[in-house]
């Protein structure tokens, strides 16, 4: 958000070039099979996440978990690939929806970003599995008490398809649970400070997100992201 439009465009271009470069390479090494993530959330993840992995995102309502997930979806659409959001069932029928304008502002190409609405617990694993066949990034709100077996099956499918599951563990006013299996990266957002808005004046301008990342093959990091 604080990223100027020109900055964002440049980062997206760089990501695209990197992606084409990787596709054109005669041999792809494991360390090359990554999804480049531009922007500040990308810096938090070391610039890229391995394909075929699971990234969990959690944090209290309003701290920025959705924005972090959107940044990963934007990385996929910027590279010419597809992303999908699996929206959760709401508590008493009323859930919050992904803010499409916010997604577009963060660089998601809406023509290549599918949204699946109000997926029930029973169908959830089937739907996510089907989406992994066609999408590079599937941002899925995790239903409560997800079976470990289902999670492992999806993880295996993502590895096979070289797709990325972004497990969104908290969504305002929705029934969500935790990802029961292990994950490549776990992003925990502790809190947010908003800048620009004063009592009775100003406008929301930018925020500082307090995030913590842990995962395999990378040291845990604490970061304050201006986004």
């Amino acid at each position: 958000m604080a990223l100027a439009a020109a900055d964002r465009a440049r980062l997206i271009q760089l990501a695209q070039v990197a992606q084409v470069d990787r596709r054109a390479a005669p041999v792809s090494l494991a360390r090359d099979r990554v999804l480049a993530v531009p922007g500040r959330f990308g810096d938090l993840l070391g610039g890229a996440i391995p394909r075929g992995s699971v990234v969990t995102v959690t944090g209290p309502a309003g701290a920025g978990a959705t924005s972090a997930a959107v940044a990963l979806a934007a990385a996929a659409t910027a590279a010419g690939e597809w992303a999908a959001f699996v929206e959760p069932e709401g508590r008493n029928g009323a859930s919050s929806l992904l803010g499409g304008i916010a997604a577009i502002e963060s660089g998601v190409e809406p023509a290549r970003c599918a949204v699946v609405r109000a997926v029930s617990r029973e169908r959830w694993a089937t739907v996510v599995g089907a989406l992994l066949d066609g999408m590079l990034v599937v941002v899925a709100a995790i239903p409560p008490r997800l079976a470990l077996g289902d999670a492992r099956r999806l993880q295996a499918r993502a590895r096979e398809r070289q797709a990325v599951i972004v497990a969104l563990e908290s969504v305002p006013r929705a029934l969500t649970g935790a990802w029961p299996a292990d994950a490549t990266r776990r992003i925990v957002i502790d809190g947010v400070e908003w800048r620009g808005l004063e009592p009775g004046a100003g406008l929301l301008a930018e925020r500082v997100v307090h995030a913590h990342v842990a995962g395999k093959g990378a040291p845990p990091r604490d970061a304050r992201i201006v986004a």
């Binding site: 502002e105 970003c113 949204v115 808005l197 100003g202």
Partner: protein, 546 residues
């Protein structure tokens, strides 16, 4: 465009006499029902001599000419009778446009040169028509610039010189323009002739009488630019299949649908076309017509279209399965629920299936990106989304389209997968960007509640904050409460507002008046930025900046 207009006056009488030659010389009256009245449509010379007038009541005509032989008007038979004339004239020109039975028009450009001038062309046309109808047949030919002028010229068998249209038209009464409302108004304004109407400035006519008036003004000026609808008629690309016996099972309907889809795609491919938008239509045995548009930006391939047709039929027949078992209230409620969910509820089996290609394009040259890129990804995504659509229903999977609006919820439209990605309120109209004064400024919130969650916005004294008629707040917000916020809400740390919004004030049923605050609340889980709307006495949480 210089046009020749050929007219056989009293064609209905000529046609009647051609059908029954014994009527020659007898008075004939042809009458037709116009609304509740029975009026004289056409009358032979003998009947006219006895006092019958075209347009008079049939009963009155009988009083004038009791011995007249009467027929009901039969435009179809008249048109059939005119066919030999039209066919004969095809030796003069290949590009005929029939106007009514008894009159036709064609552009003179080629024929006139061939016959050596307009007068020679008129003679040739007259001779050709008389060759069919007999040497005595009345036929009038008018040649002039533009069709309207030619039509008037044909009444007097005139050839109007190029550029002389305005002069020729000037003395005619405005009634010839044919539009009753316009003619009445012009007459009351004292503009009784086409010349007087033509003398008005063009922009003034456009302002006062609109586009239609301006077009007729151009006619009166002898400046008729309307092109004639010539050339090959567009091929009929609609494919239809009668389902006999009527079909209730999804599988049987889908089987028929697949055959139909393959036929459509095949026929289009034969013409080098692909269909990017298709309307699937079905009729039930109770006479209901169902229709739904499906789109595919690269054009449907056979399997893909068959699949779409199957889903659509599945949707219609599945919705119906809920209604059919019994007609009680519960079933009806279920049907309503389906209708609300976007499915059309139907009754009865399907009897007819039709695929109408709504938009066709030349078959796109399909080229995959150099490194197997985007097109392959799109095809994979299409398969995955179609499969999820099969699992959850048509309306639960889609993409988002940005559109015009003020609030985050209004600015996004969810379009089911496969439907055309079009906004309801376009962002730009022509070259102009639509503006939405009072829109919530960027950044946009990442979580939107639709409908908004009930909330409370309280001032320091614990009273609800209200907004007056002039958009001023009763107090400064101090606390926001909502079940979507951690811990049920918290004190307001920063705010801006109220931003008053009065939308659709011209429409009493859709009018919404409210005021919005952008605020940051301190909850037990930390700061939350959100958008709060106060409408009347009720506050609601519209979105969270998550």
């Amino acid at each position: 465009m210089r046009t020749c207009f050929v007219r056989c006056p009293h064609w209905a009488i000529i046609a009647a006499r051609r059908r029954s030659p014994e009527l020659r010389g007898a008075p004939i009256v042809i009458h037709a029902r116009v609304g509740a009245r029975d009026l004289v449509h056409d009358a032979s010379e003998e009947a006219c001599a006895a006092g019958v007038e075209i347009g008079m009541r049939w009963r009155e005509a009988q009083a004038h000419c009791g011995e007249a032989i009467a027929f009901e008007a039969d435009p179809l038979a008249d048109a059939r009778a005119f066919e030999p004339v039209a066919r004969a004239l095809e030796s003069v020109t290949a590009r005929l446009e029939l106007e009514t039975p008894g009159s036709l028009a064609f552009p003179t450009h080629g024929p006139s040169r061939y016959f050596g001038g307009d007068d020679a062309l008129a003679r040739a046309v007259r001779a050709t028509v008389r060759g069919v109808l007999g040497a005595e047949a009345p036929v009038s030919v008018g040649i002039a610039d533009g069709r309207f002028t030619a039509r008037l010229a044909a009444r007097t068998d005139t050839v109007v010189a190029p550029g002389g249209a305005a002069e020729f038209l000037a003395p005619f009464p405005v009634a010839r323009l044919g539009e009753a409302a316009l003619v009445g108004l012009l007459e009351r304004l004292g503009l009784t002739t086409l010349g007087a109407f033509a003398a008005l400035p063009e922009h003034a006519v456009l302002e006062r009488f609109g586009v239609d008036g301006a077009r007729r003004h151009a006619w009166a000026r002898g400046d008729d630019v309307s092109a004639m609808a010539l050339g090959d008629p567009p091929p009929d690309l609609v494919v239809t299949m009668e389902l006999d016996p009527p079909v209730t099972s999804v599988d049987a309907a889908a089987f028929a649908g697949k055959a139909l889809a393959d036929r459509l795609v095949g026929e289009l491919a034969g013409r080098g076309l692909a269909c990017t938008r298709v309307v699937v239509e079905a009729q039930t045995e109770h006479g209901e017509t169902l229709s739904r548009t499906w789109g595919h930006e690269d054009g449907f391939r056979p399997g893909v279209l068959a699949e779409r047709v199957r889903w659509q039929l599945d949707g219609w027949l599945a919705a119906q399965a809920v209604v059919i078992p019994d007609g009680n209230v519960r079933a009806q409620q279920d049907a309503d629920a389906f209708a609300d969910g976007g499915l059309d509820s139907t009754t009865g089996a399907l009897t007819l299936l039709r695929l109408v290609p709504d938009e066709v394009v030349p078959i796109p040259a399909r080229q995959l990106a150099f490194f197997g890129g985007d097109a392959a990804a799109a095809a994979r995504a299409d398969r995955a989304l179609s499969r999820v659509q099969g699992l959850l229903g048509f309306d639960s999977v889609g993409t988002l389209v940005e559109q015009g609006g003020r609030t985050p919820a209004e600015r996004i439209r969810f379009v089911p997968w496969g439907e055309p990605r079009e906004p309801l309120r376009p962002l730009r109209v022509g070259a102009e960007v639509a503006t939405w004064p009072g829109a919530v400024p960027a950044p946009a919130p990442a979580r939107v509640f639709d409908p908004p969650r009930p909330a409370e916005l309280l001032d320091a004294a614990g009273l609800p904050v209200r907004v007056g008629g002039r958009g001023e707040a009763s107090a400064v917000p101090a606390r926001v409460g909502c079940d979507a916020l951690a811990g049920g809400g918290g004190p307001v740390r920063a705010w801006v507002g109220p931003w008053p919004g009065d939308v659709r004030w011209w429409d009493a049923s859709a009018r919404r008046r409210g005021a919005r605050w952008q605020l940051v609340a301190s909850t037990v889980a930390g700061d939350v930025a959100c958008l709060v709307l106060v409408e009347g006495a009720q506050a609601s949480l519209e979105a969270i900046y998550d």
